[in-house]
Symmetry: C2
Subunit: 434 residues, 2 copies
Amino acid sequence: IDAHDDATLRAEMEELYPADISGILYELDTDAARYLLALLDKKVGSEILTNLEVIDRREFLQSFTSEELAHYVDEMDSDDAVDLLNEQPIQTREEVIALLSDREQARFILDLLHYDEDVAGGLMQKELIKINLNTTVNQCIEEIRQQAENVENVYSVYVIDDADKLLGRVSLKKIVLARKNAKIADIYEEDVIFVETYRPVQEVAEVMQRYDLDAVPVVNVQGRLLGQITIDDVVDVITEQAELDIQAITGITGDVEEEDDTIWKLVGARLPWLIAGAVGSLMAATVINNFNTQLSKIAALAAFIPIIGSTGGNVGIQTASLIVQGLAEKSGLSATVGQRLAKMVLVALVNGLIIGSLAGSYCLLIGEPRLVPVVSLALLAVVLLASFMGTITPIALNRFGINPAIASGPFITTVNDLIGIGVYFLIASLVLSI
Amino acid sequence: IDAHDDATLRAEMEELYPADISGILYELDTDAARYLLALLDKKVGSEILTNLEVIDRREFLQSFTSEELAHYVDEMDSDDAVDLLNEQPIQTREEVIALLSDREQARFILDLLHYDEDVAGGLMQKELIKINLNTTVNQCIEEIRQQAENVENVYSVYVIDDADKLLGRVSLKKIVLARKNAKIADIYEEDVIFVETYRPVQEVAEVMQRYDLDAVPVVNVQGRLLGQITIDDVVDVITEQAELDIQAITGITGDVEEEDDTIWKLVGARLPWLIAGAVGSLMAATVINNFNTQLSKIAALAAFIPIIGSTGGNVGIQTASLIVQGLAEKSGLSATVGQRLAKMVLVALVNGLIIGSLAGSYCLLIGEPRLVPVVSLALLAVVLLASFMGTITPIALNRFGINPAIASGPFITTVNDLIGIGVYFLIASLVLSI
């Protein structure tokens, strides 16, 4: 690359898939990456830009003029083009749209910019193949020839009426196998699963997984066919949602990556929950300090502070994560909150008794028999309370439209820590009458 | 259903998609479900069985005879058939295979039974459309007509030579648009991404996501085309992996569901990590007990046990989850362990100083100025140690082929709890000379 040996580079790049060239770009500095991209075919270049990670792409494209951007955006699928433009400042966005030489693409993009990222409309692409009900297979093939240029993967051909209303679909397989003069009206399938533009992307992902679809048509409220969502975009949604859930559980805020982001960004992503946890623990410290006199009498009481905290935290996280999983699946009839609580209480009782006896035996082992009832009772209570919190917190968050996975994270451990310590010392002062 | 009104039920079921009927079956008891299934078309019935969750399916099918099973297995895609048979006892499995009326299906299944579930061979289906290089488009369409009956979604037609070696692919779009007498050799694409039978499924999922593929052909070491993997199976792999990661993080062992499983199963899924956590905390209790005399002198020391434990746990989980995420992405060059550690130390220093000052100020607030250096120093040390553990644990687990997500779970909190308590009391006795 340093030698600027255009011919060799071009030949080498031709051997590679765009996704692989994207990988190479990550390892180059901005100038080298721009040089390499300029060498490539416009179509390949636009695919590479589509593949780049959002954060890197935004940075990389800062040095591009609107003309250069338009050059690549012209070649993209409309949904990818909109994603890229949404990352740009408004002025650049409008300049690029004005500069597009493919006016149909410009119209597609303007249509799609209306939609939020998290509904079906924001995920769909305008490129698709549609055919009027009254055409023959032969005319259909001619239409495919004309429309197919823009459409990367043809999954099926959508059948519409004169008002653009979605009526059904014909698979390419059927078209290949049909007689040339057969009517589309006679061979198309009326049963077609579609989604409305306003459906949340999570719902779209569920529908596509449930019915094993490769692509799903998107319609507006009047049933007019507006676009389609393909499975590759949905796979990205599923992967992203899983990452978000894991970040919520592990107490990381914002989308950061350990390798790519700066130290300040990484600190910022961790601090909120660390501070929340610290504040919660300092509240627990205040509780403990109130039992100062009891502690100086029986110092061994302090030894069980960790098991109270960790058991409460672990039970809370386990319970919450099972509830979150249940909420996400929505399969069949959901159990009522009451039924969930009843089952939870039983499971907690068994677990609490086992952990309580374990800790009770330890008390005997270290020669503190008077602590046996305190520690085992406290643990049983902690397991029950933690299970209760782990059950209701995600359900409550979900009702308020907050990602319930947060409930499996530091929030629940902090709250349970605090509750647990309070219960422990309360039981201690009651049982030991100190 | 109770009225056994066959005609009405059949008519109603015809309105529904198989995936929806599966949902209904979950709400029926076994006898009603069997009755309903028997009413349905064989093809629809086999799709429904394919859609059922593994645990429910195993239970439901226990009452089926091998003949009945064979009846449905005949109609399934070979990969789904193998999944279902693998859940049955060996005797049933062999009986069913012997009873299949579709002998090609039986051969397909026997081929696929060799492969482990977690490699490409275990995920592939034998159904696909392949065509010899030397045929014309017209012959190709004829071949599709013959082969397509078994193939649900035709993504593309694979091109092979006389020895069944994979040479490339032709999209259905190209076939639709090509002249009838064109040679396949002239229109097919040589660049085709494939996977070998022995590739881990995770790798297959990555390849398909990276190149946005709907289907990928599977070849053996000699390059012979053996089957294909379709995107819907890979979506299932991705979803399952995400669920496994979340279970590992939240300390749940085994695949349980809060709504469906029995209380004993739920208890069993939680107990291992609860007990591990309890044992860790009791080891911490032993450490604390060793500092009994110091504690009775300065009872306020006990108040900071929770913040030491929770900060260590939270930092450890955060760090580990970012490292796990980095390990999973493998994008570009991976940073070395040294580089990761250096960055981690800096982030930990900043976070440790902030949390340390916060807790230090609290000491002043409660009128314990002598504890300021102890608590802040201990927290700084805890954050550093927890970050270190959070960095090396997942990397080490990953090297030994264990799911590194485990490192973001109760394991790391337990270990960090123990280390933290030790460090805290050590610093306390050094600084306060008690």
